[in-house]
């Protein structure tokens, strides 16, 4: 199949890819993890892992997508060999499983934006009750449907008329809104206390291995590195486009947004909190929503004595969150759609299948927060394995050959040195082994029945669900790979 659609320019590609990377995780997860891991003590390893995990893997995804012009199944088969197509299918499945519940989360953001702009959000002061009433009703299902339909329509329109147009509006708008909120937050009285906490390191905490592992996990989750999403958008980049400089811009751009959001949230919470600010930021709450949907609305109601000012700031925050979630959800839907296109489906038919399946399989998460938490746990950790599969496929291809022929090949603005071989060939596999082992071993101490696959968040549920999916794809490997290459020869 000849590649017919492309991003119109370098900037369109970068904006769309930043849209993948910047999601709700930059806004609510980042602040919570910083608070739980000692503020400034967390930020130093977080910056280091940007350099040794996120940027190298983003480079890898760009290079694989651009050189193979296939979604993950075809791309991994071409890079690592046809017998490893199941690894690509696993990468697709992990992001698709995340898409099922991420659409629900996108719907929550839309609901809170509508509540904020209509003033309904400020009709109460009991925000836990407000959240519980919403999440236990049928409403999340309706908003999940709206989110999935909106995104499916954008993806149906294709790359230049859909993804490019929407991200060109949403990503700059998100950045402008975040800057407005940032300026307001840092000029609040007592905001400096929040900034101080955010940047003050403590030597005893910085030496704790858990802080380093959390910093790596946060980088893996919030940059989108290793998810297969950037690989999918890279299919649509022109041959003359550079890889390494674009990848660095996306990694650093993503973490820039995280810092903006973090400083904004810490300043706001320290300036307006009447109780223990740190406890409020670090509490997870149901499905990790504590800070965003329960505590921040309370703070927005106190940002000014003028009701309309509170409404404006709350609306801006939730629309920014909705934009961040939507642009990430779009990439997940495109990933699955592209895989079906590789299998021989027309875009229209593929998107109808993906959206219908996405809506149906998202229903359990929309109606049951425990189910959503379970899926977030299983496939969130699964992302690390996706990253490992990408790294493995490059090792199989030959790291040095991959670097010199593909990354530094036609279109490259800057040449990547041999340090890249060491990171992809050694450092990333080591990080994966350490991280996954740590997560699984830790979960044994959280749950005495760690082997039980029907518990919400333990080792057993991860191993069980991963094993079912991996086994299925290993058995289907030949059929999937043959279908992909038959349709594209």
């Amino acid at each position: 199949m000849k590649q017919e659609e492309f991003f119109s320019s370098r900037w369109s590609l970068i904006i769309a890819t930043i849209g993948i990377a910047v999601g709700t995780g930059n806004i609510w997860r980042f602040s919570r993890i910083v608070a739980q891991n000692g503020g400034g003590s967390f930020l130093i390893p977080w910056v280091i892992f940007l350099l040794v995990w996120s940027v190298p893997l983003i480079i890898a995804e760009f290079a694989i997508g651009k050189s193979t012009r296939f979604g993950p199944v075809g791309a991994i088969s071409k890079t690592a060999g046809r017998q490893f197509g199941w690894m690509g299918a696993f990468i697709v499945f992990v992001s698709t499983a995340i898409m099922f519940y991420y659409s629900v989360v996108t719907g929550w953001c839309l609901k809170y934006f509508i509540s904020a702009i209509t003033g309904d959000l400020f009709s109460t002061t009991k925000y836990l009750e407000y959240w519980t009433r919403f999440s236990s009703s049928y409403q999340p299902l309706v908003y999940h449907f709206i989110a999935m339909t909106l995104v499916a329509f954008v993806i149906y329109r294709g790359v230049s008329k859909g993804i490019e147009k929407v991200t060109k509006f949403m990503v700059p708008s998100l950045l402008i809104i975040l800057i407005i909120l940032f300026v307001r937050a840092v000029t609040l009285p007592n905001a400096i206390e929040g900034i101080k906490y955010f940047f003050t390191p403590h030597l005893d905490i910085i030496l704790n291995y858990k802080v380093w592992l959390n910093a790596l996990t946060q980088n893996a989750w919030d940059t989108g590195a290793g998810w297969g999403l950037i690989l999918t958008y890279a299919i649509y980049m022109k041959k003359k486009e550079d890889i390494s400089l674009n990848a660095a811009l996306i990694g650093f751009g993503n973490n820039t947004v995280s810092l903006l959001a973090g400083i904004t949230i810490f300043s706001t919470v320290f300036a307006l909190s009447t109780s223990d600010a740190m406890q409020q930021i670090s509490q997870a709450g149901p499905a990790n929503t504590g800070l965003t949907f329960i505590y921040l609305p309370l703070l927005f109601s106190k940002i000014s004595t003028h009701y309309i000012v509170n409404v404006i700031f709350a609306s801006l925050f939730f629309i920014a969150l909705f934009f961040a979630a939507t642009t990430s959800l779009m990439s997940m839907v495109e990933l699955t759609t592209r895989t079906l296109i590789d299998f021989g489906f027309k875009r229209g038919k593929a998107i109808i299948m993906v959206a219908s399946l996405g809506f149906l399989l998202g229903i359990p998460s929309a109606l049951d927060l425990n189910f959503l938490t379970n899926q977030d746990w299983v496939w969130g950790v699964g992302l690390i394995i996706s990253g490992a599969f990408i790294s493995f496929s490059i090792i199989r291809y030959g790291v040095d050959k991959f670097r010199t022929e593909i990354i530094n090949g036609y279109g490259s603005d800057v040449k990547i040195g041999k340090w890249y071989n060491f990171i992809i060939g050694f450092l990333i596999p080591v990080q994966v082994v350490v991280l996954v082992s740590w997560w699984l071993i830790s979960s044994v101490s959280w749950d005495p029945e760690w082997w039980n696959p029907f518990h919400t968040a333990n080792a057993g549920t991860c191993i069980f669900q991963w094993a079912v999916i991996l086994l299925t794809f290993i058995l289907l490997n030949k059929a999937m790979v043959n279908q992909t290459f038959k349709e594209n020869n």
Partner: protein
């Protein structure tokens, strides 16, 4: 704000925001060169 906080702030913001600015200016520079050479 104590000395160690300021240093950490400089390292973190300098690396992330500084890195972002650096790569952005490089990308703009190379894009201009490509435009000048008439590449498409």
């Amino acid at each position: 704000m104590n000395f160690i906080t300021i240093i950490t702030m400089l390292i973190v913001l300098g690396t992330v925001w500084g890195g972002m600015t650096f790569f952005l200016t490089r990308a703009i520079k190379y894009e201009k060169i490509k435009e000048k050479n008439g590449e498409d």
